[in-house]
Amino acid sequence: MKKDIPGIRFFVLCTLLVLICGSLSAQVQKTTISGTVYDVQGSAIIGATIKVQNQNTGTTSDVKGQYSLELPQPGTVVLEISYLGYEVQQKKIQVGSGQTAKLDFTLKESAYALDGITISGKTALRSVKEKAFNVQVVDALQLHNTTLDIGHALDRISGVRVRENGGVGSQMNVSLNGFRGKQVRFFIDGIPMDNFGSSFQLNNIPINLAQRIEVYKGVVPVGLGADALGGAVNIITRPQTQNSLEASYSYGSFNTHRFNIYALFTGENGFFAKINAFANYSDNNYKVEVDAADINTGAYYPKQNLERFHNTYHNESIIASVGVRDKWFADELALEWTAGQNYKEIQTGARIVSVFGGWHRRGNILMPAITYRKKNFILENLDFRLNGHYNLGSEQNIDTLHRRYNWFGQYKEYPNAGGERSYSTYKYGNNNGLVVANLNYKLNETHSVALSNTTNTFNRKGSDALDPNNEIYEQPRITLKNISGLGYQFSPGPWNSSLFIKNYYQQNKFAQSYNPSGNYGDVAYRNNTNDFNSVGYGVAVSRFFTENLQVKASFEKSYRMPETGELFGDLINLRGNTDLQPEQSFNYNLGASYWWTFRDHHNINFNTNVFYRDAMDFIRPRLDKNQTMQIMENLGSVINKGLEAEIRYHHLQNIRMGVNITYQDLRNNTRYEQGQTIQSAVYKDRIPNMPFLYGNADATYTFHDIWRKDHQLSIGYNGLYVHAFYLYWPSRGSDKLSIPSQISHDLNVTFTFANKMQWILECKNLLDKKRFDNFSLQKPGRSFSAKIKYTFY
């Protein structure tokens, strides 16, 4: 067996990329070879490597097994094709100038499945998994034939719980190994998603946008320049390699429509243009079981099955970009414009008992962005990446009906002006700007250095037409955040290690009100500035002990700076707290992965990870003094010990299945509450209202060539289990409130016709079980949806 070295793998992968890029840049007149790579059963092979012998040209086959290769000049070439577990094949072909030749391959399985071929056959997916960090990857391509949004795709990863308040567009909160909310950071292609506003969030981005989703648990690489406390999620969008146009539309229960169009044009001289447009609409009028009160007497009609009546959500977004690739000055230079809007009706408060009929929110996003990438920037082996964006969008909170609603949709109207919760038409913009710069220098095959810097600016400005003279809206709310990181990667032999240090800086400018004269009604504002500066560090190590067994360990001391929303409020339900200090955590991970192939095509992958988190100054919500809003505070500390495990199996292209489970022991580590010298009654108690045992199971079976050669049918199942948990501290009380164990089963059937058209039928929550989330808010019952996706080319 040939020794397989991760460093070499990475090098080869990089080289390959450079080769591809090089070949593209050299083109003058298009001479193309395209085709499809099949296995002996006629199923497409994804990720096969196609190389032109003796030339620096190559590519990989896509999700449908297709490839397209542009030759620098016409003539006779030898194509060499390889894929993990298959025999290498070579074919000679003659191509005339400006012609497009078609050449399909059928690969035979290799008798020595892992011999030698791994170097070139590895998918991006697996190479991410092989990083020293504790990272898990969702292959988004496999989910393109579902109606999932990105948020719900995450829900299938061990250690991740997506918590939401209801149906389409409802507030979503991702918890990762016990950290939640803003403690987990989100990225698109390495760019922080902090500034995107409500029009571009996990739960309204279709899965088709993504190629894969990487979930970093606990320890976050320097390249993602962020102050994540407990991990990060990086959404990798689809690579821009060839012209394509596809559209999908789905319709489902609760009058839910989802539309997505993706178009990519690659022109002469490396020019490209891309449009990704998507829209979601839902009435979200699913039924919930509630105790509905009489609007006048207050008497409850218990356990009524009622429709949500003020729950409509829709959003429309378009991301358009133009740019050039493979120029002498840039591998990629792109200008992007994201424009979108959303509308959301607010049906309930934090608890299902408070119900609204008129309160709603609007938001929009208007965000220009720039991307620049260059390998061998100034120096050989120095890679540079720069991203910047500025969000000109705004958010508005509209509460102008002075009414009191009940769950039957009845209301009492009050004569004077007012709102259901608070009279408001407040509209504000956060004027977020972001610049991310990354430098990566590869000294040689075993040593490389990375430097990254992320600068974030925030300047909230807003006003309320109902209260135009309120001076408080004129006061500064300005934040500057800068995270810089320096990382060193050392990959000798089977080892892969990464050592890094990060500097966290934040400056907040805000106003405090005071009375300058002591006379009645005098209010003036005095500007304050807060500065934080903290240093974090970490190390991640992995080693292949055999070809199939990898062990990983990582540690990080991480910080998270308070979010602008936490500092200045969202002016809806969150009151600002300018006194917030950064929160910090020591994160430890130890994990192992094992890949096993038996009887040629039966592949098993086993992953397990144990983790330990020791967090201090946790930023947590509590109710404010007026008890009308939440406020974030540095409260206490927690310790989380946990275990997660996953087994996946696949056989050829026919069967894929997996099961994962997470157990986390999240304990209150605040021994003495403020002002107390006796030990807290809930010291070491399990943190309430958090799922602590949950798992997923999924299985897909695909019938290839079901009635014609390129027609296929696949049937998929996904099951979710969440163990019961208590709403309040487990150790207290005997007559307690809890959120029951939940099981749901989803089924989907996909027909694919000639790789062009897909029909998808999906049923979620097949058994119509009641499902609950945050503070026992009920989620939709059984729902059906149908999706059609057409790939034009």
């Binding site: 009160a293 010298t677 399990r686 309430p688």
Partner: protein, 423 residues
């Protein structure tokens, strides 16, 4: 247990795996799944209901504990008590029913009603939905509740009349608090006191705007709005310029004694732009039975009598005697809680410090409006939490001495009530 934390059979292999991991991971301090361990019940006719709140940063609920005796023993929230949904709760007992009100953050909240069953256990009678209110008090067989605006754009207070027999609202209405105040500010009721067939609503004047919602430019007057009941029509406003407003936010300052005279306690805490602005000291005034004017001949200056203390809140024991919470004037604040205790005798115009209680500096938390007064009015039971723990103290009114009694483990005492069992 409302939902029993037991695996369902259909959870298949995933469940089995889960159970396996759970069995590995469960710690001893996970609350065990047991039935209420109370095998035998004495033939109790009455029980004290102690509301306790574990001190914690999040996930906090109140627990209702029961005890037969407040003078000794121990109760705990650990694995014991009826969990109350929601953090901010207030309790009131009326017609032998115990009402647990959620302060619903400006939204309607469920009010849960309990009575004591023949075994002496709390039995939930019903839920009903109530508005979030800032004042509530028994009036006849009703509970009268008011939700009061703190915004001058919507200068209305709403009142609701709850029938405690049916546990339903039977009437409601609206009061224009800007018109009521008549000084450009809003009237904000501090509390509700029934006086014969009327209700008296003392109020403070508040700006309700301009980032100084509870500030006022009228800090040196007291007002009481007098309404007939149950019509809730305004009869008149009684004013007095000798004190600042009567009562405080969420605190009663008006009491009718056994003779029918009305005593008004002012804390003297009116503010403006975050600073104390009243020139009037904390004081007691009186309205004589049958009249609707302050008695010009009665005035008791608390700050003078105690050499620098003012009353933050009070509990009426009987016979003209109050248990009062005191704080040094130097630490004056509209929401401060006094931690020194005294017996105030409004007949004698005398104030006596209570002995036998923890030092004010060592008190972490104490019960405020929900103290329990014995039937004879001679003993007041209060809850005090110090660094050493939470205890019920019984205060002998006549001797102004206190004795430490029942210990409440795993929580601060927020209210003490009493119910008789129903047959």
């Amino acid at each position: 247990m409302k939902t029993i934390l037991i695996m369902r059979k259909q959870s298949t292999y995933l469940g089995l795996l889960a159970l396996f991991i759970l069995s590995l991971g469960c710690d001893k301090d996970d609350h065990p799944i047991t039935e209420n361990p109370d095998p035998e019940q004495p033939t109790a006719v009455s029980k004290y209901i102690i509301s306790a709140n574990p001190v914690a940063s999040e996930g906090v609920a109140d627990y209702l504990l029961t005890a037969e005796d407040l003078s000794e023993g121990t109760v705990t929230t650990e694995g014991n008590g009826v969990e109350q949904d929601g953090t901010y709760r207030y309790y009131v007992t009326h017609n032998n029913k115990f009402f647990s009100l959620l302060y619903g953050q400006g939204n309607p909240g469920a009010v849960t009603t309990y009575q004591l069953d023949s075994k002496g256990e709390l039995e939930k009678i019903s839920d009903f939905q109530s508005e979030t209110v800032q004042a509530f008090a028994p009036v006849n067989d009703d509970l009268l509740l008011t939700k009061i605006s703190r915004s001058d754009e919507a200068p209305y207070a709403y009142w609701y009349r709850l029938d405690t027999e049916t546990n339903q609202f039977v009437d409601e209405g609206q009061i224009n608090t800007k018109e009521l105040a008549g000084n450009g500010e809003l009237a904000f009721f501090s509390w509700i006191t029934q006086v014969e067939d009327k209700v008296f609503l003392p109020y403070m004047s508040v700006k309700a705007c301009c980032n100084d919602v509870f500030g006022t430019s009228h800090p040196d007057s007291a007002w009481i709005a007098v309404y007939d009941y149950p019509e809730m029509e305004l009869e008149k406003v009684i004013t007095d310029d000798r004190t600042s407003f009567i009562g405080r936010y969420f605190n009663s300052g008006l009491t009718v004694d056994e003779k029918g005279d009305i005593y008004a306690i002012s804390s003297g805490v009116a503010m403006n732009n975050g600073s104390p602005s009243t020139t009037k000291p904390s004081a007691v005034t009186r309205i004589k039975r049958g009249t609707t004017e302050f008695d010009p001949d009665y005035y008791f200056d608390i700050e003078a009598a105690t050499a620098g203390y003012y009353i933050t809140t009070n509990t009426y024991a009987g016979n003209g005697q109050f248990l009062v919470y005191m704080q040094p004037v130097a630490e004056k604040g509209p929401y401060a809680t006094g931690k020194s205790y005294a017996i105030l005798d409004v007949y004698e115009k005398a104030i006596t410090w209570i002995s036998g209680l923890p030092d004010a500096k060592s008190i972490v938390s104490n019960t405020l409006r929900s103290n329990y007064v014995s039937e004879d009015g001679r003993t007041v039971y209060i809850g005090i939490t110090t660094e050493a723990g939470s205890f019920v103290y019984s205060v002998d009114v006549d001797s102004a001495t206190a004795t430490r009694g029942l210990e409440v483990k795993g929580g601060v005492i927020t209210a003490i009530n009493k119910l008789e069992s129903t047959e």
